[in-house]
Amino acid sequence: MSDSIIHSDDKAIEEAERYLAAQKRRENISLAIRYTILTIVGLIMLYPLIWLVGASFMTNEEIFGGVGFMPTNPVMDGYAEGWQTSTPYTFGRFFWNTFLIIAPKTICTVISCTVVAYGFARFDFPGKKILFAAVIGTLLLPNVVTRIPQYMLFNELGWLDSYLPLWVPSAFAGDAFFVFLLLQFLRSIPRDMEEAARVDGATSFQALIYVVVPMLVPAMISVGLFQFMWTMDDFLGPLIYISSVEKFPVSLALKLSIDTAESFEWNRILAMSVLTLLPSLLVFFMSQKYFVEGISAGGVKG
């Protein structure tokens, strides 16, 4: 075998090189085609977003003047006026309100879902199967079905027009999806470390805090992110439970500007929409690394 390589003539080498060059050329062409297609499709998908950002710097007249996204004379009117809103409050107030919902909700979700998932993943207790079926059951149940009973319940409790209905259910691991996500992730973590911790004298809870949680961080960040973004986007929840304008989160505030103005000031709405997007984008890019690790690791890591 090695003999034939040493004694092969120049012609054979030349031919091999030509073949390799042709192969490389074909690869490059196919790569170029692929990237072109992907770029075009990507642009088409992103165009509404690009337009949104561009249009937020346009005047109202210009917005409906054409389909282009580059403002001819960029103006900040939309931002300045939109921030003031048509209510006595600035948009800053609505952002703060949103934060008041998101912060407890996200933190409580991560904590409660972790504890519940840990329980299901690591302990055997009477009724475990039924309880787990119940959790998965709520996962499959359409949200709409529980709206009315929930509303009546919170009405009884006197929680209407407060943020409690929006985050308290999450504080008790009400989001079955997150429990499920963490559970899958936990199942992929070997028990040895926890057993070692227990032999080292840790209680189950200490094992959770000191050993499991550090390994679970990527998944917990995913949960936090999902919850953050979904709460940011949630419109129906606040619409049902919050009635006074001073407590509106941004999702309602955006709609408010459409309701109250006779002729919509589109540039204001678009400008505020852009601002509303920012927190989610910011948080996402900050924790992107963990996020991807978290949602993929649950399935593949052994």
């Binding site: 070997p190 470390m193 057993e195 227990r198 032999v199 004298g201």
Partner: protein, 371 residues
């Protein structure tokens, strides 16, 4: 004092599957006890029950003077080394070592002192500021060993700690662990060890005594030499020793000058030694056992078995010869020269050494040639 006593220990899974059938075992203070057996024999389950990682379905476990059945693992005075090291992945080696002490509320100076001690003994000082993923298998296992050592437990539990290491490293770790055990014993520290393995070489080289298990039952508990020389039953006989002991179906009858063992069309006459060892009334269908090393070439004219050679594996200094006698397969080990000399037309004439053959009851498997 930290002797470990196990009485009628049972493990039942999901109400029906019995994994452990009421075993009794005494591990003396400072003893190195090896639990060995094929996979599924419940040796690991037993260890995990001692550790408190599995619940006890019946019987009790006593460490020192305390019945520990219902104590959490941390309160049992045990430390455990796991097969997969089970180091805490996010903690540096130093923290891995000190985690248990910290939970126990030990003060900082004491912790630092003990970490330094253990690191020195195990030669892991340069690794103290590394994360587990930056360690090789052998280093990780040394850290795991350190994590057990630092607690100064009454009983050390090892769950197949060397099976993830390569052969060479395994050999050196074997020596390290036995050295460590000896040193602890000399220093008068608690050094009772229960060591689980499926590797009989580990069992034979490390254990003061070995407990051979099968299907949730103890087959025999003895020191390595006794286990090899006087197996209590066919299972232990076959499990201990390399290559495996030949165990073949045979018929035992009484000849003119002693017992005669017949397989197929061949039989061999034994003398007073075997006759003296046999339990009274043993005859008929039995299992005949003899180790591959305990055959020798027959002298010319001597009464011998004629064996057909089907395959010979040359191992350098000796040959594993696969033969058949009267339709029964045997493996025997011979020196290379002997085999060359004796092998005539694919047949050799051999004799088992009478002092080392065993007769087992065919149904119960018990050794009936130990008297």
């Amino acid at each position: 004092m930290a002797q470990l006593t196990i009485r009628n220990l049972e493990k039942v899974y999901s109400g029906t599957v019995k994994a452990l059938h009421g075993i009794n075992l005494d591990v003396k203070d400072g003893e190195f006890m090896v639990l060995v057996g094929p996979s599924g024999c419940a040796k690991s389950t037993t260890l995990r029950m001692i550790a408190g990682l599995e619940t006890v379905s019946g019987g009790h476990i006593t460490i020192g003077e305390r019945v520990v059945n219902n104590l959490p693992p941390g309160d049992r005075g045990i430390a455990m080394v796991f097969q997969n090291y089970a180091l805490y992945p996010h903690m540096k080696v130093r923290k891995n070592l000190s985690f248990g002490l910290k939970l126990a509320g030990e003060n900082k100076e004491e912790i630092a002192k003990r970490v330094a001690e253990v690191a020195e003994v195990l030669e892991i000082e340069p690794l103290l500021d590394r994360l587990p993923k930056q360690l090789s298998g052998g280093q990780a296992q040394r850290v795991a060993l350190g994590r057990a050592l630092i607690k100064k437990p009454e009983v050390f539990l090892f769950d197949e700690p060397l099976s993830n290491l390569d052969a060479k490293l395994r050999a050196s770790m074997r020596v390290r662990i036995t050295d460590l055990h000896r040193r602890l014993k000399e220093q008068g520290q608690s050094s009772t060890v229960v060591y689980v393995t499926h590797d009989q070489v580990e069992a034979m080289t490390m254990g003061d005594r070995i407990c051979v298990m099968k299907d949730g039952r103890i087959m025999q508990v003895d020191d390595p030499e006794t286990l090899y020389a006087r197996p209590a039953n066919a299972f232990v006989a076959g499990f201990i020793g390399m290559p495996e002991m030949n165990l073949v179906n045979a018929t035992l009858s009484q000849g003119e000058s002693g017992p005669v063992v017949t397989f197929g069309d061949q039989s061999i006459q034994f003398g007073d030694n075997l006759a003296g060892r046999l339990e009274a009334g043993t005859a008929g269908d039995v299992t005949f056992g003899v180790r591959p090393q305990h055959f020798r070439l027959a002298e010319a004219g001597e009464h011998a078995l004629v064996a057909k050679v089907s395959k010979a594996d040359f191992l350098g200094h000796e040959v594993d010869v696969h033969i058949s006698i009267g339709g029964q397969r045997f493996t025997i080990v011979l020196p290379v020269e002997d085999f060359r000399k004796a092998n005539v037309d694919g047949a050799i004439r051999i004799r088992p050494e009478e002092e080392r053959v065993f007769i087992f009851d065919r149904t119960s498997g018990l050794n009936v040639s130990l008297a």
